[in-house]
Amino acid sequence: MTEGTNVPEDLKYSKDHEWVRVEGGLVVVGITDYAQHSLHEITFVELPETGSSVEADTECGLVESMKASSDIFSPLSGNIVEINSNLEDAPELVNEEPYGKGWMFKIKPSNLEAEMSTLMDAKTYSEFIASAE
């Protein structure tokens, strides 16, 4: 299944299958193509509240698919500055464009450098999901 799975070169990845993109001083977070493909029909997304603080590796939201309920973990610590409210009415965007319109939230990171170094690059993440098969 990892064959054909999209793992963009310019992102960082967590072991919980979130991706991270640094944009200016903020970090955009979503779930990976591998994650959305494993979950299949995503029917519901619950995101952290704007203004709330999140801790790295802790649960901060929920993705529901037809067959399963999965927690979203924040890959980094910081404050939630924006969430993708389009996902409330169109959770299928996560299936359709996991790295684009299906993004989930933006964090103003509090410990960016140290925590980024714990995330995987595209090559390492590709190996990680291949070994999980």
């Binding site: 299949h40 029909e41 029917t43 519901f44 619950e46 929920l62 529901e64 037809m66 067959k67 309920s69 927690d71 409330e88």
Partner: protein, 381 residues
């Protein structure tokens, strides 16, 4: 525990076209494309399911009726030849040992069709009790392919193949029909809430020839079904359609610790029966003295998707638990079945579902969850 998984006659087709998952000892397709699309095909056109994993026991003999009445809670005497009904098999405490469809195919012959997971247990149960009666019980699960054809256009599809109007058979009948050279029991029943049939395709054992015949018939249904909007459907859509219809699933909504009275399936329970079935006295007492839990349906008011075992609360007090829940593809809202203390809530009351520590409001409602004027077998044509 590590016994090899069983495969239906249609497995090779499923493997090529769908996602296979383990289910009750079988390798079955959970989806072919998208569970929601398959679900909507059932509600608007036709959904075609392989249900060959279900167990099929043939019971034959002069005392078949008496034997089956001892085993099941509906009134077997009311079952006419070529009729079928939904019923339960109880344990001595009145808990549900199994829920099943019982079809009478001849004066002294019946087919018991049941949950895959319960097959071995029911096989033992029937063997254990049949000795006292002049009957023969035969497990013919592996000789027959079973296919459910469900949806508002299901009977039109089957009539096209039969070259005659099969909708003339009433709901809850079971007739032997020639379908494209195959001997098929057309049972006008299902597990989706929709009109349609469950087909028992005879003479299709798990041999190369049997598989070839079964797959040819399956393909015929799909080809002829194109103009009726037919789609092959996996276990995902089977679960979602049954839940939207408010139909119970063994292991989730009913089990050995739950009676049909608690499950609110009164049509499966009769008390004017002779002889009395196992569990009769316990059930009668429940009916007279009341039960300690009762099944309700609910639809989410707040956003959220209920799942099995989530706590149900009323004004902060725990009153029960979810037994089945999901996002309804039709309503695009969370729906569920739950067991709660009897008498504490009624229709339209607001309850709370504890979704991972967050209390979300829901409204108590009756089933089916869809508008029966627009969907389901009783819809206006």
């Amino acid at each position: 525990m590590n016994a090899p998984f069983k495969r239906t006659q249609l497995y090779d087709w499923h493997k090529k076209h769908g996602d296979i998952v383990p289910f009750s000892g079988w390798e079955m397709p959970v989806r072919y494309t998208d569970i929601r699309e398959e679900h909507m095909a059932v509600r608007k056109g036709v959904g075609i399911f392989d249900t060959s994993h279900m167990s099929r026991f043939f019971t034959k003999g002069p005392q078949a009726l008496e034997f089956l009445q001892t085993m099941t809670s509906n009134n077997v005497r009311k079952l006419e030849v070529n009729g079928g009904h939904y019923t339960t098999c109880l344990n001595e405490h009145g808990g549900i040992h199994d829920d099943l469809m019982l079809y009478r195919i001849d004066e002294h012959e019946y087919i018991w069709v049941t949950n895959a997971a319960n097959g071995p247990k029911i096989s033992d149960h029937l063997k254990k009790h049949s000795g006292e009666f002049d009957v023969k019980v035969e497990d013919r699960t592996n000789e027959i392919t079973m296919i459910a054809v469900q949806g508002p256009k299901a009977m039109a599809l089957l009539s096209t193949i039969a070259g005659r109007d099969l909708a003339e058979f009433n709901r809850f009948t079971c007739n032997l029909v020639n379908l494209s050279g195959n001997r098929v029991y057309v049972c006008r029943t299902g597990y989706t809430g929709e009109d349609g049939a469950e087909l028992l395709l005879l003479d299709t054992p798990c041999s190369d020839e049997g598989k070839r015949r079964a797959i040819a018939f399956w393909k015929l249904l799909l080809e002829q079904g194109q103009k009726f909007g037919a789609k092959p459907c996996g276990l995902g859509a089977r679960d979602s359609t049954r839940l939207e219809a408010g139909l119970v699933l063994y292991g989730n909504d009913i089990d050995e610790q739950t009676s049909p009275i608690e499950a609110r399936i009164p049509y499966a329970v009769k008390f004017k029966v002779d002889p009395h079935y196992i569990g009769y006295d316990k059930l009668k007492r429940q009916k007279e003295e009341g039960v300690t839990k009762t099944r309700i349906g609910f639809v989410m008011i707040d956003r959220g998707v209920p799942r099995d075992a989530y706590p149900i609360l009323l004004k902060g007090e725990s009153i029960g638990r979810v037994s089945s829940g999901m996002m309804s593809p039709l309503l695009r809202n969370g729906i569920g079945l739950a067991y709660v203390k009897p008498g504490v809530v009624e229709e339209d009351d607001t309850i709370e579902v504890d979704i991972k520590g967050r209390l979300r409001k829901a409204r108590v409602t009756k089933w089916p969850f869809y508008d029966p004027e627009k969907y389901g077998s009783a819809r206006s044509q």
